[in-house]
Symmetry: D3
């Protein structure tokens, strides 16, 4: 399946913290950069996400903001 | 100002395409990875965004999805 | 690629309206129900979206609200 | 109240799973299709959502992605 | 129709800027505070939005970030 | 850091409810208006958010809907 979301950052799952509804998944995309995703616990189970597994952080372009110093 | 958004990816603005309301800003975050943001034209002007300028792609954790192959 | 987004509604593309940055894609998911998506023009081109083509409307669960009458 | 969100899918609440902050509400929109929403527990209480109750899954068009096989 | 979105800020429409797909609607919520919304042009027409009209800026709680100085 | 998000509403934190992953932060922006944000517990800790502290509710313009009565 190809999706319209413009951004897919490849990395490795560093940690998964589960609550009763949502889970926090931290993906290490290299260069010391971590990306945090909040997804449902059902999604974690459905995709069989585990620490150390390769995964992509996917973001729709309209959800990305820009900041400058 | 410190913001709750968990993800800030540092890079350089590669291109800006303006429409009448929204603009597409592409940020090169290194390693051959591009991040696309859709923000308002007013924001582009207000932050004085320009190609070549250093910028961060900022994303709220709840907007990040996870995908696996 | 499997994605964490919980919602994928299958349908047929009814119309595509392009602006300079974003495009409006209307998907007929059957039963007289239309779903409208705003995605980038680049995504429309990259996925080769066309009227009449089968497609899914995909939505992250955290983006869905609930309303009652 | 009329809202700008373009998408409202009518259905029946199939299940509600509550955490301390968020709840997962699954709406059956017919034809074997389920839509999952993550909303606050306060919203579940405020709208008096219950299994079996008629409800709409409402989504802003800019939150909808498109996928093709 | 009652919606799960937790935030509805009452104000008056100050300006509407239309592009071919999206429109920028600025709502004056009083006290010198303006709220900017990007919605589809179809939504502007469907709700018959006009400058000077009373309107609410509605935001799902999961879309709100917190910042401190 | 300046961010592209168009909306920043100044107020005072009225309450914080923490779950294992997400937290609900209610900000009083004056005039009897409360804004609810769902952010990660890590963000609450990282920004050292506390009841009574001054804070901004920040929202990307593309996440704001418009409603009329």
């Amino acid at each position: 399946m190809k999706i319209s979301a413009r951004n897919a950052l490849k990395g490795t799952i560093k940690s998964i913290t589960k609550g009763p509804v949502n889970a926090e998944v931290v993906i290490d995309i290299g260069g010391g950069v971590l990306v945090t995703a909040i997804i449902t616990v059902h999604a974690v189970e459905n995709l069989a996400l585990k620490e150390g597994k390769e995964a992509y952080a996917v973001v729709k372009a309209s959800e990305v903001m820009v900041a400058v110093e």
